[in-house]
């Protein structure tokens, strides 16, 4: 039997690759907090990356600890912020979105974070009508 001609397969895959490279928005934030996200079983994938905004919560990274201390911080985009600033952040993130109703906020928070911080963020999210949230986590069995 003659072998199947696979010479065009790389071209096909490359086309798909370029497609995904274009639609994925790369995170260009440098993390200023460090976190270990929790592990869960009932996770869902975040399908549309373009409508997802991230909020990072955790203690400052090791190299920033000397200036910033070690208490929990919230990071929005490239800087530390207070919980109340989340509202402006949400509004700014919404600006470029075509389907604002689908906006998802993904919270990447350290396991040891005290719930007070998370609750404050959630309250502000509620007030800004960003109701679809996602607690970022890794899969466990």
């Amino acid at each position: 039997m003659p072998e199947m001609n696979t010479s065009s397969l790389p071209d096909l895959i490359f086309t798909i690759l370029f497609f995904f490279m274009m639609v994925t928005t790369m995170r260009e934030v440098t993390l200023k907090v460090k976190f270990t996200i929790p592990a869960g079983t009932e996770l869902e994938k975040l399908e549309k990356k373009s409508v997802v905004s991230f909020i990072y919560v955790g203690p400052p990274t090791d190299n920033l600890r000397a200036q910033m201390g070690s208490s929990t911080r919230i990071q929005l985009n490239d800087r530390y912020a207070e919980a109340r600033e989340v509202m402006d952040f949400i509004a700014a993130e919404r600006q470029g979105m075509t389907n604002q109703a689908e906006q998802v906020i993904s919270i990447k928070a350290d396991q040891q974070t005290q719930m007070g911080y998370i609750t404050d963020i959630k309250e502000v999210l509620r007030k800004s009508w960003a109701l679809r949230i996602n607690y970022s986590a890794t899969k466990r069995n």
Partner: protein, 195 residues
Amino acid sequence: MAKTKKKMPGLNTTSTADISFMLLIFFLVTTMGLARRLPKPPEPDQEDATMDIKARNILYVRLNAAGQLWIQDEMNFGYADIRELRPRVKEFIKNEQNLSKLPEKHVKNIDLLGQCFVTDKHVVSVQTDRGTPYNIYFQVQNELVAAYNELRNELAKQKFGREFQYLKDEEKAAVRQYYPQNISEAEPKKYGGDK
């Protein structure tokens, strides 16, 4: 003389496909997480709606600053291990024997399922302290979602012969009506030191 040019052997491109596959997979990596929905912001003139829920319809799940779990309904209350949470929540939502101390059941007409006895007035109330570790809270949320997912899967298998995720959209909607997710999160208590 140029006519007799030697034919160049083609470059072996067998592995190009594999290389590009790897690149593709790299870009396909998705972020995962536990999806939740927050309640709408309160209306300024809204009365406290939690006042008129019957005691039998509420399951309290409380987490203190030390990360200890307290489960309370009309049947039973006390500190519990996180592994006890899922069966307790399932038992509470199902109320199989129609006990008077578990959520009330009433007849509801659901498309595709017909007349059903459902406990759709039940509420799982999660209360946290400002000092509760996030991981504990996350695990509790995970267990609650797991309890609902298991119940929905059981119903889907029983009625449609397939797991919930393989159902058609209208079948999913019917199962969701049978087991609606009513998780309420109260304002956390302010006691227990600074945040």
